[in-house]
Symmetry: C2
Subunit: 333 residues, 2 copies
């Protein structure tokens, strides 16, 4: 259970999740099913992205899965109708892919977002929308921890396009009165994420390498600091943002008070896993060009306004994630 | 002559201008021809935009006109080859159009910009690119005058997409080493602009209304402050940005020390024109939603680094513009 205290409020709601077969989408789906909501999951299942049918195998008869791409304007018009809440999670998340193929990133992170908002505006203006944005749009932190007023200085095409996608949401809230909230996620991890490769997150791939007993490569000297949220904690923030009137038109950082550097993180992972090892390697040039140095978020705004804070400590979260991939890993590699 | 002092440096250069039949593109073309450069003008001549063959009628045998759309990736790959300078001016500029048709705005102001940059990166990495950005990306000024460090808070889809377009340019400069400069233009006016309607600028339309002796409508109480650049001054900034090494990777505001409110501007226009009248009308709701209040720019950075400042006072510039449309207006209505 992610947020049993919210189940009464959620019961009976109709919820649409784009990227619904992905990491956070499916995490939300489990909780929403437990809370007695009616859930529709939209996912393209594009192989390079995070969607995986395995993620909802255990609740497949309790959710409605609609395979379609958010780039398909027509299906969205239909799908947003008669929904109470939209968790808008579909996105292209790979920074490197955005540099080699900026057009696809643009189609998904910009054009499709416009389609989704146009669909809501015309077909269902009362829907509550929570958009998954990212810490990546801040670029290289000018001060730490990074709060929501930090300048937006993205360092790659993905960051630029995600910024535009976020701003479309806020704009449609402002101009057309849509009920929109934005969560800027920090590194999020847990069961059901893409761990096949580093396309979605490096930590997902590290989890795989650890479970397989392989060597984890840390770029540079491993002193880059990061904060991490366990999937359940991030998912609870989405639920709160959808339910709370105060969240309307607001942008919130997620984050954690547990800040570790990548070397510590890797060592913790190897320790908890009881196998695998760590290796420091020089930054590949294409990664270095878009690296942001230390990052950790100030999440005091969402703590103050919505009462959100992480509940799962890093150590416990990593243990749960490792357990999951030890059991189900074959379905994710 | 816009910048005779730069002609020696420009002579023999090969210059490509996107939006080349438009207002600033054609203004630049005249100066470049006078300086002895080889000019290629790319323009789609989409009727709703600023391109107009009349703009280069007097130099049509001295420039090469290539009718194609910047959304056409293939023609761009070919066109950027063997050019020394790219003045990248093609854009969708209507704020209202961007709200009714956000996709077209996205195609031109984002996707096409990526195409242009990809073309430069692959086909001509040594080209010098000057990108026409806009003050509009700052949104409602948080302090005045607005300098380049002011937060970027666009208030319409056009502003969001222009921001992305600008950032792609800076990013490609940073990551791929392209020689890129960005000019954030304030209100620019003069001969050869779109005056048929208010799609490009309100002032263009006011010039038409004045010349036709019709009533100029000012939204609200007319106290919104603005600064204005005459076309020749803006064009000179483009030339300097292309020629000066210091401009590499830099963002510059254009602007003017002559700040007037819209009512004063309208009155000046009617006075200089000797006909027409002014009327204060309530803000139409769709305009009000994306209005930014007072705006004038701090342009001290470009003054200090490139030695640019406006040379044409507002009164003189408006007189020259009125003269032009009195003579050629029929070709622009």
């Amino acid at each position: 259970m992610i947020a049993p205290e919210l189940h009464d409020e959620l019961r009976g709601a109709r919820v649409l999740i784009t990227g619904g077969l992905g990491f956070l989408g499916s995490t939300l789906a489990h909780e929403l099913v437990a809370a007695g909501t009616k859930v529709v999951l939209v996912d393209s299942l594009v192989p390079e992205y995070g969607g995986n049918r395995q993620n909802v195998a255990d609740i497949s008869d309790q959710v409605s899965v609609n395979i379609s791409d958010v780039r398909d304007q027509h299906s969205l018009n239909e799908l947003v109708r008669e929904q109470d809440i939209l968790f808008n999670l579909a996105g292209q998340t790979s920074h490197l892919d955005s540099m080699t193929d900026p057009y696809t990133d643009l189609e998904i992170n910009c054009r499709a977002q416009l389609s989704i908002l146009e669909a809501c505006r015309h077909e269902n203006p009362d829907i509550r929308i929570v958009f998954a944005s990212t810490r990546q749009i801040y670029g290289r932190p000018q001060e730490l921890p990074v709060n929501e007023s930090h300048p937006i200085v993205p360092v790659d095409v993905n960051g630029i396009n995600k910024t535009a996608g976020e701003w479309y949401h806020l704009l449609y809230g402002e101009v057309y009165g849509l009920h929109v909230s934005v969560l800027r996620l920090t590194n999020t991890y847990g069961p059901r994420m893409r761990v096949k490769d580093a396309r979605q997150t490096f930590l997902g791939y590290w989890l795989r390498l650890a479970v397989e007993g392989r060597t984890i490569q840390v770029f540079g000297d491993g002193t880059q600091k990061r904060d991490f949220n366990y999937a359940d904690d991030a998912a609870r923030a989405f639920l709160l943002a959808a339910l709370r009137d105060e969240a309307r038109g607001r942008v919130y950082n997620l984050g954690s008070d547990e800040v570790v550097d990548l070397r510590e993180l890797g060592e913790l992972l190897v320790e908890l896993n009881g196998a695998g090892e760590l290796e420091l390697v020089p930054f590949p040039p294409d990664r270095k060009a878009i690296d942001i140095g230390d990052f950790y978020a100030d999440f005091s705004r969402i703590r103050a306004e919505l009462g959100w804070e992480p509940r799962v400590p890093l150590r416990a979260g990593l243990e749960r994630a490792l357990d999951y991939y030890r059991t189900y890993g074959e379905l994710y590699w």
